[in-house]
Symmetry: C2
Subunit: 244 residues, 2 copies
DNA sequence: CGGTGCCTTGAGTGCGCTCAATTAAAGTGG
DNA sequence: CCACTTTAATTGAGCGCACTCAAGGCACCG
């Protein structure tokens, strides 16, 4: 049992606990998992499409993303990940990675041997439940992204991503004030939105000129969360925060 | 135990078995679930966004889809479902529905009381595994859709959807020849692709004029699967068919 | 101090949209 | 079975959102 506040899996476990109940036993099993922490540089790969990973990993600090590419090399970021997120739970049951996982910024990743995690999952129904819940919420976010990319114009689409990011950071207790750092290049933002970086630049300028946010280097401050939420058409229901 | 060939859950169970191993015990538990079959008309709702369903359902015949809408009423179809698909496994763990499930065509749906299914899942690890696998494959499809809608042009995007549909039908043994019925309106196709029905009509015409497919009412025949696959940039890896 | 990466801005283009009219097909009821 | 209604598909004309290409600015870093 390892409840030390610096346990590398603590953030993930806290995230699990916010969503559902873990027994004392589940909790200990998770926190006792053998875990190796590695510091990684921006854009280093954690999983490559085509791999069959023998580990699962959890983001401890920094930001990561998952991406797919067309055969023509067009990139689409399909997920942004913040500290506490499990980065590849799918490999517990799926063999071959269908997409790549990469660091967005410098940060730390916790690697857990697949076998050990599988054991814990199969012997602790509370953990199994938490893992299922996490993957289902993730799937819900994918659906919202399909809607976002498919049906919202560039301005709303960008605003939606900003709202989602802020909301998730707050859900996890990683942001408090009206602003947050967004250490993402506009090109990455564009790849997450199905846009070009040029257009993202223009849209950010527009949002700023509308008084919805203020930029300072890569820090973003929301000037009017309600107005931004409105034009983003952001409804956090799909994040399933506490709907048991 | 109910192995009769007309068991309404047979198709789903067969789909599970193709992906992984179910023990005799798992199998019997699934096939013995109380299940109520209902015939439904096109566009009737199975789940509405905001509901908290107390059942899980499986498509027995016909086609269904899942959709989300922007506050402005723009519709995005996020998933097409074929016979044997579970339509709302997410509600096993998530309370409030974040999207709607609707019939595309006339068809039959099997309703399973949530409680009973939860019991089977928690007492049969093979079933739990199969359910996890199914939801993870589903999530993988969502990711591919984000890529499809975000980064492919209209022609490839449409071709990709056609390829995916054909491939999945074949995976499940529901199509054999070079063609298949596609009982979907062009407007629904458009809503699945983030396009307008007008443009879908034009793209279908182009694909036909390129000799890639032939249309006859709503039947589509592939004239050149390889060429269509190429311009669709379709790689079935993301469907995780038999990669254990 | 030059190099490099990222962002910004302008000018011009084009893919997919809107609006609208027409045709074709599928139901529906007498 | 045929007249009528409704729904779906096609086609044209024109527009606009987001793209491409390219130049220039700014910040960070060796």
């Amino acid at each position: 049992m390892d409840h030390r506040p610096d346990n590398p899996l603590l953030l993930m476990v806290q995230a699990f606990q916010k969503q559902g109940s873990l027994s004392e036993d589940d909790l200990n099993a998770l926190l006792s998992l053998p875990a190796k922490v590695r510091k990684l540089e921006p854009s280093s790969y954690i999983v490559r499409e085509g791999d069959t990973p023998n580990f699962c990993c959890v983001l401890k600090s920094g930001l990561a993303y998952r991406q797919k590419q067309t055969s023509g090399g067009q990139r689409q970021i399909v997920s942004l990940n913040i500290p506490g997120d499990a980065l590849d739970l799918q490999h517990l049951f799926l063999g071959i990675a269908d997409h790549s996982v990469q660091m967005m910024t410098r940060g730390e990743v916790v690697f857990i041997p697949m076998r050990e995690l599988q054991d814990v999952v199969s012997h602790h129904s509370g953990v199994a439940r938490a893992v299922s819940l996490a993957t289902l919420v993730e799937a819900s976010v994918f659906r919202e992204w399909v809607l976002n990319v498919g049906r919202r114009d560039a301005r709303s689409r960008l605003a939606h991503l900003l709202c989602e990011f802020a909301f998730r950071m707050r859900m996890r207790g990683l942001a408090s004030g009206p602003g947050y750092a967004l250490p993402i290049t506009q090109e990455q933002l564009a790849d997450a939105l199905g846009l070009t970086s040029v257009h993202v630049s223009r849209m950010l300028k527009i949002l700023e000129s509308e008084g919805l946010l203020v930029r300072n280097k890569r820090n973003i401050t929301f000037e009017s969360w309600e107005n931004l939420r409105e034009i983003a058409d952001f409804n956090p229901r799909y994040l399933h925060f506490l709907d048991s």
